[in-house]
């Protein structure tokens, strides 16, 4: 094959990913400096578009609320693993970023008095856990769609530069400075180097490694693998959120907003079992608690259907009027994917892998940071991350519903501001290293020139199935050790994977094969983190260590990838000191 061309582009700021975090960052950075966004898909096709229920902010539009209550709920929801300075920062900034979205034109649903509509959501309470509060700001059940389109519209208005359908291959650094990324032009083929003063990964989450999941095809956690390969750590990857209400059989999401509007879960006896697991808020406990309760009911033989392998989500009693007005997307999804008219019958649901709490470690400025138990955090020059790809850590061991859309707005905005400032402070670009992108270019050319041995599809199937079986809602030493061995075998097989498509134009075979390589890399970090963590906290539940162990495990995991592909673990303390209020000390979590 002839040499494939390499084109070099120069921008002050380069953002990889055009979901909510990437676009919010782009809007901010482009005010001050030359900014470009690289995206695997056209921006409005990014997965933020699928977010349903809403974005949390203590606007007090319906009833009195307070950012400190929001902060407490988020810390408790995180099972005390979230960093309290970051959580305070996010919850205080929430009203501001939501109001900005309204000003940009986001079509929020409205209350009678014309203010933004707010609904109840799991884990969000008033007065430090007394009862559920209406805090989640929504555009019907299409909040993510409304948000992503609004942000993209603003980017169009402000003439942000986009490179759509470009796929990132390698994070480029010159000594200790990140200087951009190497990417592949999906539509035409060809390598592109984006040389930047500041580079942000807003590359989304990683739960496509699970067979049953709520995520888009593109959510293959590419940014995490590229970060690991560049020698930087990833944080808390063992914390994978299983959302309680995925549609049975396919995993597509049914928003928690259904329960926020008064829907509830039933077991095969028609019992509202959540009252036994969360005596105060029942079905509105946080997601890890509800998912585990459902799994426990099924283990004890109280699941529904001939196999006893799902539960029922009842909402017909809310009334067809409210369902069509506030939950129209859910009605559609249930009808299309479960053949259920949810104004008349319950929706069959099971927990579905949904969200990555872990990610690239960042601080309050969305700078990527290095650190350890005794090493203070220190930013990597020129490298930023935001959104699901990052770990600020505002979600700790379990994220509250409607805090993810908030996370992407807050840290997208702040990251954009800081990147612009940083870029302005550098008189010139730090030069590219010698042979920039060598590794990424070789990876692609060897696939294009290689011969097909093993196929991508078979390896991927086994990855998804084994991760679900061995590293899912419940985990033990035995299942995790088994998964470690499975991954080793899959990585060996991956080395022999070849692609059938050798063309340059829209080579999906190439992209999916590269994605699989990324997934294998960080799956090892998920499993190693989970195997080492001998406790149960938030979404990480070890049957063999069912209690939280603050003495030994109140700390963040960090995973590094060694030259040979193996994972080395390190740890760092939880930042317990908030910015202005007293620390919330760890307590037992009861909902």
């Amino acid at each position: 094959m002839a040499d494939i061309s390499v084109t070099i582009h120069k921008h002050d700021v380069v953002i990889v990913g055009a979901g909510g975090a990437g676009l919010r960052a782009a809007l901010e950075a482009s005010k001050g400096v030359n900014t470009a966004v690289i995206s695997e898909v056209f921006p409005t096709r990014s997965h933020t578009v699928a977010a349903q229920g809403g974005v949390a902010a203590s606007l007090s539009n319906v009833e009195p609320d307070d950012w400190v209550w929001h902060m407490f709920d988020t810390i408790k929801g995180s099972d005390y693993l979230g960093d309290q300075d970051a959580i305070e920062f996010m919850c205080r900034m929430a009203p501001e970023v939501v109001i900005e979205l309204e000003h940009m034109g986001m079509p929020f649903s409205r209350l009678q008095n014309g203010k933004i509509f707010q609904r109840r959501f799991g884990g969000h309470t008033k007065d430090f856990g007394k009862e559920a509060v209406q805090r989640t700001c929504a555009a019907a059940d299409r909040t993510g769609h409304a948000m992503l389109h609004t942000l993209y519209e603003q980017c169009v208005k402000n003439q942000v530069v986009f490179y759509n359908e470009f796929y990132a291959l390698e994070l480029l650094k010159n000594e200790d400075h990140v200087v951009g990324v190497l990417a592949w032009d999906i539509a035409n083929g060809g390598f592109h180097i984006f040389h930047a003063k500041a580079t942000m990964f807003a590359t989304g989450g990683y739960v496509r490694v699970y067979k049953t999941n709520s995520n888009a095809h593109i959510n293959t956690g590419d940014g995490l693998a590229l970060t690991l390969r560049a020698g930087f750590p990833v944080e808390d990857l063992e914390f994978v959120q299983f959302h309680p209400t995925g549609i049975y059989g396919v995993g597509n999401l049914i928003t928690e907003g259904v329960r926020g509007e008064g829907g509830y879960l039933l077991n095969k006896d028609g019992e509202r079992f959540m009252k036994r697991y969360a005596p105060t808020v029942w079905d509105l406990a946080s997601r890890d608690v509800v998912s585990r309760a459902m799994a426990e009911e099924m283990r004890q033989g109280r699941g529904c259907g001939p196999e006893g392998d799902h539960m029922l989500l009842k909402l017909d009693h809310i009334g067809a009027g409210i369902i069509h007005e506030r939950l129209p997307g859910i009605w559609e999804l249930a009808y299309v994917f479960a053949h259920v008219d949810c104004t008349k019958e319950p929706i069959p649901v099971t927990p579905t892998a949904h969200y990555s709490m872990g990610g690239i470690p960042t601080n309050l400025s969305a700078e990527v940071v290095l650190g350890g138990m005794d090493k203070p955090e220190e930013p990597v020059k020129g490298f930023y991350a935001a959104g699901e790809a990052a770990c600020a850590s505002v979600h700790g061991a379990n994220r509250l519903g409607s805090n993810s859309l908030l996370d992407i707005m807050v840290f997208g905005k702040v990251g954009g501001q800081h990147m612009a400032q940083f870029a302005q402070s550098l008189p010139e670009h730090v030069p590219l290293p010698e042979n920039p992108g060598k590794r990424g270019i070789e990876e692609v050319t060897s696939l294009l020139n290689g011969t097909a041995g093993e196929t991508m599809g078979a390896v991927w199937d086994e990855l998804k199935e084994s991760m679900e079986a061995n590293c899912g809602v419940f985990r033990t030493e035995e299942t995790l050790a088994k998964q470690r061995a499975v991954l080793q075998k899959l990585c060996d097989r991956y080395k022999k994977v070849g692609i059938a498509d050798k063309g340059l134009a829209f080579n999906l075979d190439l992209i999916e094969t590269l994605e699989l390589g990324h997934m294998l890399d960080y799956s090892k970090a998920i499993v190693e983190g989970a195997l080492a963590r001998q406790e149960s906290r938030g979404a990480h539940y070890r049957d063999d260590y069912p209690k939280r162990d603050d003495e030994k495990w109140h700390k963040h995991s960090l995973a590094y990838m060694e030259e040979d592909g193996s994972i080395r673990l390190d740890y760092k303390p939880v930042r317990m000191k908030p910015l202005t209020v007293p620390t919330f000390e760890p307590k037992e979590r009861v909902y």
């Binding site: 409005t44 014309g114 203010k115 299409r142 603003q154 539509a187 597509n252 829209f506």
Partner: protein, 236 residues
Amino acid sequence: MLKTVTFSVFRYDPEKDKKPYYKDYKVELRRPGMMVLDGLNQIRWEQDGTLAYRRSCREGVCGSDGLNINGVNMLACITHIKDLKDPIVVQPLPSMPVIKDLVVDFTDFYRKYYLVKPYLITKTPPPSDRERLQSPEDRKKLDGLYECILCACCSTSCPSFWADPDYLGPAALLKAWRFIADTRDEGADERLQIINDRDGAWRCHTILNCVEACPKQLNPTEAIAELKKTIIHRKF
């Protein structure tokens, strides 16, 4: 043995093929509720890795996988295989240049979307510390408009869009009306100037293909009628 259906898929690789052709694949129905996208994935992952198409959310909200299936534009990810006549003929969206197989070039479609100024235009500054107010009744005017996913199923089903390369098309016009109908927007004048053109709203001949094609049950023809009414009202 599992029941199979035949997918007859449009194939074209610009680097190899002089002209497009159709290739037949057998797709096994392994579980109830399989969608056309599941069928395409089965082909790609198990039979023929060279097949190219776009897809992402696989639940009808990202708008990536608009295709022409048995002659009608729809989203592959929310179209049940069992509802279709066998063999299932899968083609790219009509009238767009083909990049490869089922992947078409959206440049012209997006250009027309940008032309209608698809963003809130305001002159009055918003309140500094709170949201603008909007009554639920006014907000309701956006239902059926804001949900557009830019899949292009509507525009590429429209004979006027096929015939007139400059026609803005139903998707862009629906987007224009989404903003003009928004009580917060103050950009109607500049938008209507663009739309009051032979290649704008007036090129719509109410053929209604767009309404039938929309996978989100939106009604671009009605939005275009509203645009026409507004233009006339402003004149007299």
